[in-house]
């Protein structure tokens, strides 16, 4: 019986010829990730193991991004605990303020992940690296602790849903619209315990930025991982970012899938997910006038350079609507610098937006843009659960950078097609 991409990667890392869906395996890890919230719990657990050091100093990474720059004294203590641990254990890839960025934008940029890797991260959006043809998945702090100690993790081999992409995205439509459309179609547990494998001729029209965004939100459909077939675009990206030699795994011709879903990219429209679940996806023919108080453009989902370029194109020469606070968060220091050199930050600031240092901040209701009771935000983030960005009676509408930028200008949830007078 043939194997899926994910099954092949897992088999190779468990030292097995083949694996089957449902099989429990112990797999070798190429990278173990934690952040300033999940690592402290992992460090406490690690200390119970009486291990002198981590399994491989180059294969453990900690990124201070959630409540950093430290939002309060407790957050400062948590970052200090990570800093001390990484110093003591001589962990190579410790990213503190000044070098850090939002973890899932930072690691691919720094070349820490390559195709064929098995990566675990104590952060649910670790599934992002599937865009590079790696198996990567979110775990908890105990898994992180054990991963740091022995370089292994247990997995139940997943079955998969295959997404056969065709066609090409239209202007002002991006990876975010694709994944919101898919989650709207299959639901927040539509891929529970399973892989989402993306392939098909439509792949060639998707940038790495689009792919990273799509894989990032696989978890919002309940998936174990999202993974893209490796092509020239992937290989070029991996080379440009100095990552290790890729190992390319292609699904067998006779791989068994639970389901095959065709997605015609040419038909995807600007899409918005309404509170309080990512599956509440709507297109603009179903959206009436909804006034907003805040716009957030950033996060591990949509804080990349292409995202900022798309937003800047729409906001250039225009003013943010009165009463709307617009917060732009470049996801890494490099993206911040590139956006500055390309004049994007000037466009944002002149339009009345603020530009923040990299941080997860408002996405999880941490800091840098918390909502009051009854307030509404359009955000390029990944979750719109109750209270996610602040008060339990606030609302988050998930959208692409283009929709968020268009909404910043009009003060209500708006289509970039309408704001830019784009004829479909």
């Amino acid at each position: 019986m043939g194997m899926t991409m994910t099954q092949k990667i897992l088999a190779s890392h468990a030292g097995l010829e083949t694996v089957q869906a449902g099989q429990l395996i112990l797999a070798n890890l190429d990278l173990v990730l934690g952040n300033d919230i999940t690592s402290p719990v992992a460090i406490k657990e690690f200390s119970k193991l009486n291990k002198e050091g981590v399994f491989d100093k180059d294969k453990v990474t900690m990124v201070m991004d959630h409540f950093a720059p430290n939002k309060d004294i407790k957050a400062a203590e948590q970052c200090k605990m990570c800093r001390d641990f990484c110093g003591e254990k001589e962990v190579t890839h410790f990213y503190d303020v000044g070098k850090m960025g939002i973890e899932h934008a930072l690691l691919p940029e720094q070349g820490l992940v390559t195709a064929g890797n098995v990566v675990i991260g104590a952060d649910s959006h670790t599934c992002t690296y599937g865009a590079l043809g790696a198996f990567s998945t979110g775990v908890g702090s105990t898994d992180m602790a054990c991963g740091m100690a022995i370089g292994k993790a247990w997995f139940k081999v997943p079955s998969a849903i295959k997404f056969n992409l065709m066609g090409k995205l239209r202007k002002y439509v991006s990876g975010k619209d694709v994944i919101l459309h898919i989650i709207g179609k299959i639901g927040v547990d539509g891929a529970l315990y399973r892989s989402m494998e993306f392939t098909g001729e439509g792949l060639s029209s998707l940038s790495m930025s689009d792919r990273l965004c799509i894989a990032n939100m696989a978890i919002e459909a309940g998936a174990k991982n999202g993974i893209f077939e490796v092509d020239d675009i992937t290989l070029e990206y991996i080379k440009a970012h100095g990552a290790k030699e890729p190992a390319v795994y292609k699904a067998d011709e006779d791989a068994v899938y639970d389901e095959v879903i065709d997605i015609n990219l040419s038909e995807i429209e600007p899409t918005v997910s309404f509170p309080h679940l990512p599956e509440n996806a709507k297109t603009f023919n179903e959206i009436s006038d909804i006034k907003i108080n805040q716009v957030v453009i950033g996060s591990c989902t949509n804080g990349r350079l292409e995202d900022l370029q798309e937003a800047a194109e729409i906001m250039k020469g225009k003013q943010c609507a009165d009463g709307v606070r617009v917060i732009i968060i470049p996801a890494t220091q490099q993206i911040y610098l590139d956006a500055m050199e390309q004049g994007l930050l000037k466009i944002f600031i002149e339009s009345g937006a603020v530009v923040s240092t990299p941080t997860c901040g408002p996405c999880l209701g941490g800091h840098m843009g918390i909502l009051a009771k009854g307030e509404r935000a359009v955000a390029t983030t990944n979750r719109n659960f109750v209270g996610r960005m602040g008060h339990v009676e606030s609302e988050v509408y998930l959208a692409s950078p283009a929709v968020a930028a268009a909404s910043a200008i009009t003060g209500k949830i708006s289509s970039p097609w309408e704001v830019m007078n784009y004829e479909v």
Binding site: S124, G140, K152, G387, V392
Partner: protein, 164 residues
């Protein structure tokens, strides 16, 4: 393992942001996390939960963020067992890894009401609603997972050389 307690019942898609809101993630202290458990979904939870109580819930319990603080908060609040129609995968493995007992059983969830007294015999996979007298069968854990639970979680399993 046997569990017995009063049931506190919730619906589908209970996410880890409502189980333990991010604003409390600047600590990993178990008692402090427990004092905010379920705060954004049910403010009465912390005042009425008693040692040994059982949570029942619908589909996709524990979806969203990977924060282990969520099963830790539930366990530290006194909950002995969570019965759901299904669990989000990271929450599921986190619970196993920290030793919070969880079980999938849609029939039991449909047949148990808020406030019922329930007994679960996990060695034999039987859930009994002591209030109504009805019984429900569940599937046992796979052997590998059973081993982790029996050894008090993943850390112990590694410390004792059961997993290398």
């Amino acid at each position: 393992m046997k569990y017995e307690g009063k049931v506190i019942k919730y619906g589908d898609n209970v996410d880890t942001d409502v189980i333990i809101p991010a604003r409390y993630l600047n600590t990993s202290d178990h008692a402090e996390l427990a004092s905010h458990c379920m705060e954004d979904l049910d403010k009465t939870f912390v005042t009425r939960v008693q040692q040994g109580d059982i949570i029942t819930a619908g589909f996709n319990f524990g979806c969203g963020s990977s924060r282990e603080h969520a099963p830790i908060a539930i366990k530290a609040s006194g909950i002995s067992l969570v019965i759901a129609k299904s669990f989000a995968r990271i929450f599921y493995r986190n619970s196993i890894n920290i030793g919070l007992a969880i079980v999938e059983c849609p029939e039991a969830v449909d047949g148990i009401s808020e406030g019922d007294r329930v007994e679960a015999d996990m060695d034999n996979g039987i859930i009994r609603n002591l209030t109504t007298g009805k019984e429900y069968k569940t599937a046992p854990f796979p052997e590998f997972v059973q081993k982790i639970i029996e050894n008090g979680g993943l850390i112990n399993s590694i410390a004792e050389g059961i997993i290398k």
